[in-house]
Amino acid sequence: MAILTNDTSQGCEFSGSLKTVTEERVWLFSGGLRQDPGWPKKNIHTDLEFAKSCGLPTRAASAAMFEGYLTELMIDLFGVNWLKEGKMSLKFIAIVDVGDKLLPKAVVQSKEAEDSGVRFVMEVWCENQHGNKVVVGTATGWVR
């Protein structure tokens, strides 16, 4: 069931589920298959020393992980049909590390009636426990 309707106004703001980036979740996301020997694989997402060796100040959770948080919010807003026509454009602007808590958010930037439904453009972002945005962008979907 989609949350957005034809009557949803420009400026309406929505929040998704609060997500906690734990070490185990980062390993599950970026460490390979958990049943594989040597899991989790070492990379900039899973291992502090590996990340530092590549010049990063700390581990960096995969951007795909918090992109997934925004995708979940878009499916909540538009319904599962968003996976057949939805679009998203994102910039990743800050490192997300273990222990961070992220809240995906969206606000209706514009809406336009089209023959096949109402096209919504949403401003989207995730913000951390300090209120800082870590990813920003827009998403497009239709309410039919």
């Binding site: 995969s62 951007a63 992980m65």
Partner: protein, 143 residues
């Protein structure tokens, strides 16, 4: 195909080697736990059809780092900077997916190299699942 080139040295028009993955229910479940999203649509047949692959899994497994031909020097890494994604169809659990990539732009900004690649995921039935335009930068630590 340009298997021998280091990832950050691929030029416009060159491709990474394609990657195939089969997504089992267990594989999908691992990602549901990772992103704390347990909607029934990802776990069982619903009014939306057979179980759906979580989109975050598909995004993660269509990063250029998944290509069998991807490699960098030690102490180097690819860091995701920007992303445009267009969803075309839900991926279904227990299917095999093929990911292809083509480099479409390379540029430098503030002394840092950037590479733009278009990715396409197609399932075993030829259904297009999603298209991405991925912008990565490459970083390296000191020896």
């Amino acid at each position: 195909m340009t298997e021998q080139k280091r990832a950050d040295q691929l030029a416009v028009g060159e491709t990474f080697k394609t990657y195939e993955l089969h997504i089992t229910p267990e594989f999908n479940q691992q990602f549901l736990e990772a992103v704390e999203d347990y909607q029934p649509r990802y776990l069982q047949e619903t009014e939306d059809g057979p179980p759906i692959v979580h989109p975050a899994l598909l995004i993660n497994h269509s990063n250029i780092t998944r290509s069998p031909s991807f490699y960098l020097l030690p102490r180097m890494a690819a860091v995701h900077a920007k992303e445009e994604v267009e969803y075309l169809n839900p991926g279904r659990v227990d299917k095999t997916f093929r990911v292809s990539w083509k480099v479409t732009d390379v540029y430098e900004k503030r002394g840092r190299p950037y590479q733009v690649a278009e990715a396409l995921i197609v399932d075993e039935d030829g259904v297009e699942i999603l298209r991405r335009t991925i912008t990565d930068t490459f970083i390296s630590g000191k020896e």
